[in-house]
Symmetry: C2
Subunit: 365 residues, 2 copies
């Protein structure tokens, strides 16, 4: 198959602003999940940028993140031009982040297609991932169309939002692309099982593909106040006054997700189903499930010796972990904290971090 030509330049917008506490104690306020090497040697944001490299060069890759991550991100991604980093003085959720990035991209290429990617997802089959993005970029060429990537569910997950496929479909590069019937919030277990059996539901991956003029038009229509507040930013883009304008405008911006603020109200939304070993690795257990285990089902980073130990995820790069008679535990050894938690309780790590926050343990956050 001959490689199809894109009529629009592709830009990548990497959203690297997440605060994730579920990988605590590895993830901390000043080093969230996307800045950790959760799998492999490189940080997740580095992997995200490298993964789209074959499709989009560093010069057209934009990273949006909190000002606090400036130094770490710049040193993680030294090959990205300095002006491609958009540092938010405060977090204002994903609609503001996407809209600012869109204004930035528009200033470079008014009809560019931008691919919005969270910085903290894992992709098993990178070649297939790129083919899906390519399809999505082709599908996003008509003006006013927003395209999202949906993941074929493999189990009745209650931690993700879902996308219900509509009746309309089209063929793009031999793939079916579906009109979105609606977005569905994180379901109950029963609903999730129904969705899985139904077959018309995909996981909402939080990855989007659209023309920059399309998303800006939908932001103006769906979030007029946000759009108006950002006008000054659009005017200042690429000028020396931008930092001052951002510092002035950003804290006042409406804080809403792109999903709720735009996607759920947009008029022409399509989804490309993807099946490329995607995971948002939302917890220690999810991470453990992705990694190769030893004969006892243990995943170990570092060194472990034990008796009757099975199903554990053990991270201890600097210290031998000796275990006797433990099953399905998460053990995380960092420089200043040791976490021990059954896999089935890993969602409660967040509560523990909240407890430490209430106790004023800033050193542990």
């Amino acid at each position: 198959m001959a490689k199809p030509q894109h009529h629009h330049e592709l830009y990548a917008v990497i959203m690297a602003g997440g605060q994730g506490t579920r990988f605590w104690p590895r993830s901390r306020r000043n080093r969230p999940k996307q800045l950790l090497n959760i799998v492999g040697e490189a940080t997740m944001v580095e992997q995200t940028v490298a993964r789209i490299g074959p499709l989009i060069p560093p010069g057209r890759t934009v990273v949006v993140a909190g000002e606090v991550y400036r130094d770490t991100l710049r040193s993680c991604l030294p090959h990205l031009p300095a002006e491609n980093f958009l540092f938010e003085p405060v977090g204002r959720n994903t609609a503001a982040c996407v809209a600012w990035a869109a204004l930035w991209v528009q200033q470079r290429a008014a009809d560019a297609i931008m691919i919005v990617l969270p910085a903290d997802h894992l992709i098993g089959d990178e070649a297939e991932f790129l083919r899906v993005l390519d399809t999505a970029a082709m599908a996003a060429q008509p003006l006013n169309r927003l395209v999202t990537i949906g993941i074929r569910p493999t189990h009745p997950e209650t931690g993700y939002g879902y996308i219900r496929l509509g009746e309309d479909r089209m063929q793009v590069e031999d793939r079916d692309v579906f009109r979105v019937a609606c977005f569905v919030e994180k379901p109950s277990r029963q609903k999730a099982e129904e969705f899985l059996a139904d077959g018309r539901y995909l996981w909402n991956s939080g990855m989007f593909v659209w023309r920059v003029d399309a998303i800006l038009q939908e932001v103006r229509r769906c979030l007029p106040r946000l759009a108006k507040d950002l006008e000054a930013v659009g005017t200042a883009i690429a000028s020396s006054s931008l930092p001052r304008v951002i510092a002035d405008v950003y804290p006042r911006l409406q804080s809403v997700s792109i999903d709720v603020g735009v996607m759920e109200r947009a008029r022409d939304v399509w989804v490309v189903p993807g099946d490329f070993g995607w995971s948002d690795v939302g917890s220690w257990r999810a991470l453990s499930a992705l990694l190769p285990a030893d004969a006892q089902g243990n995943v170990v980073v570092g060194e472990q010796r034990g008796l009757d130990t099975s199903g554990c995820y053990i991270y201890s790069p600097n210290k031998l972990v000796a275990t006797i008679g433990i099953t399905d535990l998460v053990v995380i050894e960092t420089e200043d904290v040791l976490l021990i938690c059954p896999k089935e309780r890993d969602q409660d790590v967040r509560k523990l971090v909240e407890l430490l926050a209430r106790e004023g343990r800033e050193d542990m956050l």
Copy 2:
């Protein structure tokens, strides 16, 4: 009650040679349990010496241990005269250790009474402990009599040997002192329950009180080969040739415990029942049971924060331990090892150390 006069000088012999692996990873080859501050600030051997201080001054306190502990012991016990340390070139069990110490004491005072104490026991009621020793020393005055301290059992322990009381009893300082009917090896659970119900069984504490001439005579009678091999040591005591003689003789000595080699075959053995909060703290669980717990039944050395955590023993002096949903676990965090083990499996720590030894992990032993 007026303090009774002893007609014989009292000497203490502290056996500090144990290799205990059950407190691994805190206890290591070069720092066994008796050289650790298992409870409180001081090491167990320091506490043992300090505890008998009111009865026996440092000048009459002898410490027997392996040559490898020379520097550590000397720095733990700087107030003991250098000549009061007897360092064994190799371990040859307790009969050899006791016999050498007896020869040393005999050279100072031919009819002294020596109190033999393991260096790694805890005593809750130290005043009562000293009163029991005092009684035992009075009881040990007749020549050829060996006295041992028996502990009133509080539960059907299978980890200790037992002493069965005979019919004969005598009153010493208002206490009953019993002739020993026999020594019993570590029993089955069922036997231990019978012993507890029977009332005539005490735990064998491994603490002995006897005249130095009495024990030497019984060693000569029960272990003639050991006694003969040690003759050269007796001749060399207090001479400059002693180190050479010890290095020559010690490796060849018969290796047998004082219990099996002498006590079980001696002719005039008596026991003073003691009830002074004794524990040989033979495991992490035993240690945990001795220490004050928080409202959730956790004993913590260091800092711990958690959700739904109960019944744990956590030792982590340098690092926050964060726990969720764990019960009855032992967690030991040292500089180079992290141990996680249910309390009920704590006897298997020994197996884990053996496993590491088989793997040649000298650095972990």
